[in-house]
């Protein structure tokens, strides 16, 4: 099977039903995408499939055939992704950091769809991503900062 990940085509020797998460991590060695629950409950494994955030722990590789997967490793190639990452660093968002790959991918997808989200939009888009350390308030602030930065750049 051929999988397009971060705009590179990978030849994958794995069963059709293997979740994308384990194909990325164990077969292809891309460990930026994290395992948290295995049941689409925590969002640590979030990647983009054709630009939409999905939980890679329950999505079989077969579903990604002829589609494009984007992971944390390449999120900086999107303008929004880079702005989100910069805001994360600027605000010292992470504590342990384990959930943050998923948070960043979800936040990037949010800004791609909604460049100026309000608190409710942010809560709705981000509530699938658990952070046990409790960095939610900083995540909210960082998303807003990134949104404002992108808007300022756009206007400028």
């Amino acid at each position: 099977m051929k999988l397009t990940i971060n705009e590179q085509v990978h030849e994958l020797n794995a069963p059709d039903e293997m979740p994308i998460l384990w194909a990325l991590r164990d077969v292809l060695g891309m460990t930026g995408t994290k395992f948290g629950c295995g049941k689409s409950l925590c969002g640590a494994c979030t990647v983009m499939l054709d630009g939409n955030p999905i939980r890679s722990c329950v999505t079989p590789v077969k579903a990604a055939e002829n589609k494009s997967i984007t992971t944390i490793e390449a999120i900086s190639e999107q303008k929004t992704g880079q702005a989100i990452q910069n805001a994360w660093i600027e605000n010292n968002v992470p504590q342990c950091g384990y959930c943050q790959s998923g948070q960043i991918v979800s936040a990037t997808a949010l800004l791609n769809a909604n460049p100026q989200p309000n608190d409710e939009d942010i809560n709705n888009a981000m509530s699938g991503n658990i952070c046990r350390c409790g960095t939610y308030n900083r995540i909210r602030d960082a998303i807003k900062q990134a949104a404002n930065k992108l808007e300022a750049d756009h206007e400028g």
């Binding site: 994290k34 990452q85 504590q95």
Partner: protein, 761 residues
């Protein structure tokens, strides 16, 4: 991780200070002074502390300063906070500092047991020593280079300068010559003046790992990959104490990618850090291993806890808590008599179920058994205990076991227990020395934690005709962490009763504190802030209830109970533990507790009028030698939905080394406190944890987080003041403050956690 450590050793030996030899004396005052004197603080910890710059610092010729972080990073920011102390004191430029993680070796690095909110509290001073000694060695080397008196040169921002001649030389150029100098005696160290600090106490420090985390380049325990590595998961016995009777792996072996199965020995109680036993499925990838585990047909032999049932156990605890007697922890006057005679009394019971730490990275370990040695990579809070425990199980000497500490995807106490490292090591050995990554799924993590205890607290108070509190009675019932190490233990240990049962600083003439027995039926362990959770919840809720009954302002009553500003010797409160700190250096200071209460109530505008369905709640708690008070504001909708518009938290943790990380820890503790109060529950049926993933064991999500968390740090007089803990003390006041706020908003009193659906009409 393997490569990183190897590189560092090389640099140490080839380029760094280590040229002068690594075997200089290390600071182990705990061993060098009289054995009979009780040791406190960092001196009292296993293997004490080390402040040898040759152990912690190396400088490459390009000027890169490498600083060893010897405590485990699990989100508290220790890889930033301690190395930056070294960097500041040695005048290194933080931008040219590289932080590397120590492997487990306490004789070399000092105590590495990362829990108890101790890392900065215990190692601020040793790390200042490291930095000061390194700086003085660099200055001596520069003075020799220019043949000028050392008093004429000064280290400044990664260079040593000779102002008189305008000369300067970079740290990198001095590394070789400085490394050949003797390490200055501890007594001769000259410290920077606090006004010259560049990083210590500054609020704009960037995380050592911020960039790699944001770009997904970090290496957690879950991310370790070795050549020829296989993957494994374990089918653990369902109830604690169950054992394997038989199993059939025929279907398992048919799963593509599954290599084989093997068994792990189960161990008799006490649990200690021993593996639970069960069947291991080894596969070419984690997913195949998980699939293979699902196909196992296993017969378990029921053990002594297979009928553990939470509702029944709760009734048992309730009975004990409401009976006179039990082990008396402290007695002042005659509470029983006063309660009997008093005109006004009040009584209430509080219950908190078991909790699981549930760090986002479940337990995981990679082991490579090589016959006469074993190397491991794991997210462990206890590198030395991991090393010792693995060595015991492999029948090796600790020095034959190397434990590489990865980043931890959260810990909260779970990763202090190295049972999962032992599983990985035994599996690698059983595979004849193949490297194996043994992964706990979320189900394993939530069902086989070392759980936070289950607790039942009974409180009574009596008032005189003027409303003054005359008697206090508290019976605390909870299986003890001690039972994890001694199966016969039924009473709480000094460390548990010293978390807010005996060390309540209240000026009440009659006090009776009792601890009826409670046996354990599962592995009990420590969870962030430990027994402070139930004790603070009960005590701080009860004072709010007392205030309501007496028609008093909660804050006014709380301050009245605390009484005059004074320093209490914890031993006078029968607190023999005092978080391991010296009772002289760390008395319980009621003035500091009063100040955080006054500060937070003032900032939060305590007593302000709020619309119907909204309310404020207050709680204050002393833990980990830090003083914290919180005001939580809630909004409860008509259908009982709780939201939190605002939380104010005032913290007096003494001197602040990295205020930015202190804030983040308190913010996180606030959310974890709300999480456990609103949702946290592990319950048992037939000895098995009912919840097994984040659907059953719910934790707060972003929509449940407070809209606003304001952390207020109380200034300290000087960096010579004793430091308080930071990682844990933010949590205990949150649940009671939240429930007190809910009462203010709704007149509904929550005495049983979690709140969950209790407010629904």
């Amino acid at each position: 991780m393997k490569d990183k450590i190897a590189n560092i050793s090389r640099r140490n030996f080839v380029k760094g200070f280590a040229l002068s030899g690594l075997v200089l004396a290390v600071g182990l005052p705990g061993l060098s002074t009289a054995a009979e004197a009780k040791q406190y603080g960092r001196d009292g910890m296993p293997h004490g502390w080390v402040d040898n710059p040759l152990v912690f610092v190396s400088i490459a010729e390009d000027g890169t300063v490498t600083i060893v972080a010897h405590r485990s990073e699990m989100g508290q920011g220790v890889r930033t906070s301690l190395p930056m102390v070294v960097a500041d004191e040695m005048e290194a430029d933080w931008a040219q500092v590289k932080v590397v993680q120590a492997y487990g070796d306490e004789e070399k690095f000092g105590n590495q047991d990362t829990d108890g909110s101790r890392s900065v509290r215990h190692f601020f001073m040793p790390m200042r020593n490291v930095g000061a000694a390194a700086r003085m060695m660099l200055e001596t080397a520069a003075a020799a280079l220019w043949s000028v008196p050392v008093s004429e040169v000064k280290a400044m921002n990664h260079k040593v300068v000779h102002e008189a001649s305008g000369r300067s030389v970079g740290f990198g150029e001095l590394a070789q010559s400085a490394s050949k100098l003797p390490v200055p005696e501890r007594e001769s160290l000259i410290y920077k003046d606090a006004s010259d600090f560049r990083y210590i106490g500054k609020s704009d420090m960037k995380l050592a790992d911020g960039e790699v985390i944001a770009t997904g380049q970090t290496e957690y325990g879950m991310d370790i990959r070795l050549e020829n590595m296989v993957y494994a998961v374990v089918a653990h016995p369902p109830a604690y104490g169950d054992t394997l009777a038989s199993y059939d792996d025929k279907e398992t072996l048919n799963v593509p990618g599954v290599i084989k199965t093997l068994t792990l020995p189960s161990s008799a109680p006490p649990a200690v850090f021993n593996p639970l036993g069960g069947v291991v499925v080894v596969a070419e990838n984690t997913w195949a291993a998980i699939q293979g585990r699902e196909k196992l047909k296993i017969e378990w032999k029921a053990g002594p806890n297979s009928d553990y049932e939470s509702a029944a156990f709760r009734e048992k605890m309730q009975t004990s808590a409401n009976q006179k007697g039990g082990k008396v922890l402290r007695q002042l006057g005659d509470s029983y008599q006063v309660l009997e005679d008093a005109e006004a009394t009040i009584s209430a019971d509080y219950y908190i179920p078991h909790l699981a730490q549930a760090p986002m990275e479940p337990p995981v370990a990679t082991a490579y058994f090589k016959g006469d040695s074993c190397e491991l990579w794991a997210p462990t809070q206890a590198p030395q205990a991991s090393r010792d425990t693995v060595a015991k199980w492999l029948e090796l000497k600790p020095e034959q076991v190397k434990v590489n500490v990865t980043l931890l995807g959260g810990g909260f106490g779970r990763k202090s227990k190295p049972d999962f490292l032992v599983e990985a090591a035994l599996t690698s050995k059983a595979l004849g020395g193949k490297p194996v990554k043994l992964v706990w799924t979320r189900e394993d993590d939530i069902q086989h934690s070392y759980f936070h205890t289950v607790s039942y607290e009974h409180l009574q108070a009596a008032f005189d005709e003027n409303g003054k509190t005359q008697a206090w009675l508290h019976r605390t019932v909870a299986p003890s962490i001690a039972s994890t190490f001694d199966a016969s233990s039924v009473h709480q240990m000094p460390i548990e009763i010293g978390m807010g049962v005996v060390n309540i600083p209240f000026s009440i003439p009659n006090i009776q504190l009792e601890n009826p027995a409670a046996e354990n039926h599962t592995r009990i362990g420590w969870f962030r802030s430990v027994s402070n959770i139930p004790h603070a919840f009960a005590v701080q809720s009860f004072i709010s209830e007392m205030a309501h009954q007496q028609n008093r302002d909660h804050k006014a009553l709380l301050l009245e109970l605390i009484g005059d500003d004074r320093e209490i010797d914890p031993r006078m409160l029968r607190d023999e533990w005092n978080y391991g700190e010296s009772p002289e250096q760390y008395p319980l200071n009621t003035g500091r507790l009063r100040r955080v209460i006054e500060h937070v109530t003032e900032t939060a505008n305590w007593g302000k009028s709020l619309p119907e369905g909204q309310g404020q709640g207050l709680a204050a708690h002393y833990s980990f030698v830090t003083y914290v008070a919180a005001v939580v504001e809630v909004k409860v909708s008509d259908d009982g939905e709780v939201s939190v518009p605002k939380v104010d938290i005032s913290v007096d943790c003494g001197p602040q080394v990295n205020p930015e990380r202190i804030r983040s820890q308190v913010e996180g503790a606030c959310i974890m406190g709300i999480s456990l109060a609103m949702l946290g529950e592990i319950s048992f049926k037939d000895g098995v944890a009912v919840q097994n993933n984040f659907d059953g064991y719910q934790v707060s999500r972003m929509n449940e987080a407070p809209a606003e968390i304001n952390v207020h740090l109380m200034p300290a007089n000087s960096y010579d003041d004793p430091l308080g803990g930071v990682g844990e003390p933010g949590m205990p006041p949150i649940a009671p403050a939240l429930c007190n706020a809910i009462f203010a908003a709704t007149k509904k009193r929550i005495r049983n956690l979690p709140i969950r659906y209790q407010l629904e009409a």
